[in-house]
């Protein structure tokens, strides 16, 4: 294989075939190898922490506090969890192969029909092979290394394509992943959409894409040519339903958490950031006042909020307020600084529902508040819209919680907090409908890059002659007995068995 620049000119064919060769050699399946890779990742996170903070600050103006909380810290914990559990996950799992008796009276649904008795059955996880991970610019470390750790734990060879829109982080990964991981089996390919396109010309054993729906469609269409399975983590408008909260303390806690989930998370540029709020008409002014005072307390220095990624997105956000019908609904903030690419926390009250800000994913520090007459109306509001990656609800009302869970659909639902579901290893993370498909985090990251192979083993011992032609009515009759809970006939049949 030539240098990556040569590879790029030639369409990456050499890169892919080299990785396939490495994978076929069995190197990445070895459990010791997987352990060394996961340990390598942990070492990288520990030793290069300062540098990671630096590049995240360069690319996005993220404060190290946010970077640790959202990318480095939770990632280290997640990799540690994989290190402890991957051997268990990779082990064959016994499946039931009890004698099956198919009858409505039977209380135990067993497994193998009589014709296959006796047998042992198990499920054997195996790596898919050579996989490709497309990362995104807003959590450029987390969205690369979390799936990478899953793919490695599962025993795959991996190509990672970080987003070119976070160039310092991409360069950091390209320089350091080869140092801490097995550079023969883990490759970083830098570049923009053209590189992505060239990579997708090839067959992969799995592709994970995090990004926009538009590009998601392109990726899946290209994957279809090779029957490459894909997982798509797409965006959406994540709503936050805020119920009437009686106690001041509850309201303050809710506001703290909503602010952290909007402006404290990459300035709202996150797939699971709160996009807009739904609240009862009468509660809205109270909420807005609390937002104002808390925002002042939290963001005492500009460095505590990330900046907008680049001019293009800055302009996009600016344009959302172009329409005077939208601009007139701004109740707080609204100051855009094109020089520093920063936008102050901005709140709108009831912008028109057909405006861009209410139909497109905002991905920025603008928070529309939509009022409803009764909080239950928000459920109907959500049902008529595309399924989001996350739905948030701040409420103490158990009935409302149950209704939200049962009557809406989303990747996930979180009550009385936001974003924190991202850092949990026990629940799957992923979208549904327009927000994507495929889940990862924790054990799900391992499974995303695995195939669960079914294995059944038989002995030569017992044979049932009615399994074989020539078939006549008596054999069919015997078979019917075998498929019913008909012990006597069964026993008699069994006696005439062995040739």
């Amino acid at each position: 294989m030539g240098s990556l620049a040569e590879e790029r000119a030639l369409g990456y064919g050499g890169l892919v075939s080299d990785l396939r060769e490495v994978y076929e050699s069995g190197r990445t399946k070895d459990l010791e190898w997987r352990q060394s890779q996961l340990r390598g990742l942990l070492r990288l996170l520990r030793e290069k922490e300062e540098e990671i903070f630096d590049v995240l600050c360069e690319d996005l103006g993220k404060h190290r506090g946010e970077s640790f909380r959202d990318e480095v810290g939770s990632l280290a914990k997640s990799v540690e969890d994989k290190l402890q559990n991957f051997k268990k996950w990779a082990a064959p799992e016994k499946a039931s192969s009890l004698l099956r008796l198919i009858d409505s009276d039977c209380s135990q649904p067993a497994a193998t029909p009589l014709v296959a008795f006796p047998a042992t059955a198990f499920v054997m996880p195996e790596p898919l092979g050579v996989v490709l991970i497309f990362s995104c610019w807003n959590l450029p470390i987390g969205l690369t290394l979390e799936p990478l750790s899953g793919a490695l734990a599962a025993g795959n060879a991996v190509v990672v394509k970080p987003s070119e829109l976070a160039p310092s982080t991409a360069a950091f990964l390209a320089a350091n992943l080869p140092k801490y991981l097995d550079s023969k089996a883990v490759k970083v390919v830098e570049g923009g959409p053209d590189v992505g396109e060239k990579l997708m010309e090839h067959r992969w054993d799995k592709v994970l894409f995090t990004g926009s729906s538009r590009v998601g469609r392109l990726i899946m269409t290209k994957a279809a040519k090779h029957l490459t399975p894909v997982a798509l983590e797409l965006g959406s408008k994540c709503p936050c339903i805020v119920d009437w909260l009686d106690s001041n303390r509850d309201s303050q806690v809710a506001v703290n958490r909503i602010i952290a989930a909007k402006w404290g998370t990459c300035a709202g540029q996150a797939c699971i950031a709160i996009d807009y709020v739904l609240v009862e008409e009468e509660f809205a002014p109270i909420l807005i006042e609390l937002f104002k005072s808390t925002l002042k307390r939290f963001f005492t220095k500009p460095e505590f909020m990330a900046r907008i990624l680049n001019k293009k997105h800055f302009q996009r956000l600016n344009d959302l307020l172009d329409d005077p019908k939208v601009a007139s609904t701004v109740v707080h903030g609204g100051y855009f600084n094109a020089k520093t690419l920063s936008i102050e926390p901005t709140i709108l009250l009831n912008p028109p529902l057909d405006s861009d800000i209410m139909t497109e994913e905002i991905f920025g520090p603008l928070l529309p508040i939509i009022t409803v007459k009764k909080i239950e109306d928000s459920i109907k509001f959500l049902k008529s819209r595309p399924k989001p990656l996350a739905i948030y609800g701040f409420t103490r009302n158990e009935k409302l919680k149950r209704r939200i869970i049962e009557e809406t659909s989303s990747g996930s639902v979180t009550f009385n907090d936001a974003i924190v579901q991202y850092g949990m290893d026990s629940i799957p993370f992923g979208g549904v409908g327009a927000s994507g498909f495929g889940q990862y985090h924790g054990k799900y990251s391992f499974e995303m890059f695995s195939h669960k192979k079914a294995v059944l083993k038989r002995s030569f011992l017992i044979e049932f002659m009615f399994r074989y032609p020539p078939w006549d009515d008596s054999k069919i009759g015997l078979l019917r007995h075998a498929f019913r809970y008909d012990y006597i006939s069964l026993f008699l049949a069994l006696l005439g068995l062995r040739r």
């Binding site: 946010e66 193998t112 499920v123 404290g264 869970i405 659909s409 979180t414 498909f437 083993k457």
Partner: protein, 478 residues
């Protein structure tokens, strides 16, 4: 037309008709009744479409479909319950659960070779999971297709479960609609078309495709039993027209003659001297496939390798069980999926060489090994990627509902059977429930050094950090 169907189903689904477990159970119970009451009609349709012997229809389609229904009926109650999972210390106090919910309106495109089972089985999973369903049976098995179109409305809720018959045009029309999942059983060429169509709407897909299923036969086996199982797995499964039927055999050069002899004897015993007259053998589904198959052995360098069989009857669309030995590897017979009654035997020097041979081809839907040698068994299981595998038998793994059934690589993506069918049409929604307690100011700006220390400890799982965080450290000036 497809648009109207989808619209109606979406309305039914949004109205919540398919959600109650009672509704789902009622549909599945009705399906069981349908299979019991109409067994003769189903068997007749399969006989018309494929000349399938009644025994095969009963064993491979009808009984499995009924069992699948009953298994889902029993399992549904627990499958639909939310699953509690451990919560994290960082979100203390909180509870977490995984709530299964239906995807919505799903499309199931079935195949022609097991037209009854391959239609009903995924439909069972979709219903159990609470979805609205459109079933598009294969037009290449027209009797079974019209049977579905007639029977399903008599037994199940027609506002939520529909049959759409038709060929390429109707299928294309269906594929242009927006579905919440598409489940396709068939070949890789159409599979690619299905996935590309799904990509336009970001619809997830499950593709149950085919491949060349290899059978390794070692010399240490109980040969008579092994051969019986291979023969019934090949020609007793729709005359080789099954995605999991053995496609080719690999054995050692030294063992091949004995294996071929045994195969000949068993084929003769099962199907008689003139297999074309045997009532126990399915026919080839149509003349297009008949011609496809016969052209595979037209070439002299392939025809010369026939060691048994080879007779054909074009009028009846029947081809006799045919054995071939050491066909050149670059021929169509050896590179593409046969899906018919030809069984080539490949010979290798050492039996272990068969592993590399299999791995040099695309990943099969199923791989089979006959041996008593534990080391070879382990080597096979560990080193041969495949959808599923069986040691010392053929095809049966698909009857175990505790095992996921599906392909990998060229043989497909996604799996089903048993609970896996339910999962195939389900979204596992993560639900995290926190209270207003456990407020850790350490997570909010302004980000001070002290806060970062506590957050670090908290994320690393330190109890002390948790307590400090919960006590509101660091204290902030208001």
């Amino acid at each position: 037309m497809a648009e109207a169907v989808v619209r109606e189903l979406r309305a039914s689904f949004t109205a919540g008709r398919t959600r109650p477990v009672e509704w789902r159970a009622a549909q599945l119970t009705a399906l069981v009744r349908m299979i019991e009451e109409k067994e003769a009609d189903i068997s007749a349709a399969l006989q018309a479409d494929l000349a399938k012997p009644h025994m095969e229809s009963y064993l491979h389609e009808i009984s499995l479909a009924k069992a699948s229904c009953k298994f889902s009926l029993k399992g549904m109650k627990s499958w639909t319950k939310p699953e509690k999972v451990p919560s994290a210390i960082t979100t203390f106090p909180s509870t977490a659960q995984i709530v299964p919910e239906p995807l919505g309106v799903v499309l199931i495109i079935s195949a022609w070779n097991y037209p009854f089972l391959l239609s009903i089985d995924p439909v069972i999973g979709a219903i159990a999971a609470g979805n609205a369903v459109v079933l598009k049976p294969s037009e290449i098995a027209p009797a079974t297709s019209s049977l579905f179109a007639k029977l399903l409305p008599e037994y199940v809720d027609n506002s939520c479960i529909k049959v759409v018959e038709g060929g390429v045009d109707e299928t294309t029309d269906l594929l242009e609609q927006k579905w919440d999942k598409i489940f396709y059983t068939g070949n890789g060429t159409i599979g690619r078309i299905v996935m590309a169509a799904a990509a336009k709407h970001l619809t997830p897909v499950a593709l149950e495709l085919g491949g060349k299923c290899p059978v390794i036969v070692d010399s240490d086996v109980d040969l008579h039993v092994a051969v019986k199982r291979i023969v019934v797995g090949k020609w007793g499964c729709n005359n080789g027209q099954a995605c999991i039927a053995p496609d080719y055999i690999i054995t050692t050069k030294s063992f091949a003659p004995e294996l071929v002899d045994s195969l000949k004897r068993v084929i003769k015993r099962f199907y008689g001297e003139d297999p074309l007259q045997s009532a126990d053998m399915s026919r080839i589904v149509n003349s297009k496939h008949f011609n496809r198959l016969t052209s595979l052995v037209e070439d002299k360098k392939v025809a010369d390798k026939i060691v048994y069989g080879g007779q054909t009857d074009e009028k009846q669309l029947k081809i006799a069980p045919t054995l071939l030995l050491d066909v050149p590897l670059d021929t169509a017979l050896m590179t593409g999926e046969i899906f018919g009654p030809y069984l080539p035997i490949v010979t290798v020097e050492k039996i272990e060489d068969s592993i590399d041979f299999i791995n040099s081809k695309t990943k099969p839907l199923a791989a089979y090994l006959f041996t008593k040698n534990k080391k070879l068994q382990d080597n096979f299981v560990t080193n041969v990627p495949a959808g599923g595998m069986l040691v010392n038998d053929v095809a049966l793994h698909l009857t175990n509902p505790h095992l996921p059934f599906g392909g990998v690589g060229e043989s497909g993506m996604g799996s089903y059977h048993g609970k896996f069918s339910f999962d195939c049409f389900t979204h596992k929604k993560a639900v995290l429930i926190r209270g207003f307690g456990g407020e850790a100011t350490a997570r909010y700006p302004p980000y001070t050094q002290e806060k970062q220390k506590i957050l670090r400890g908290l994320i690393n799982g330190s109890f002390i950090a948790l307590i400090l965080a919960l006590l509101g450290f660091p204290r902030e000036k208001r």
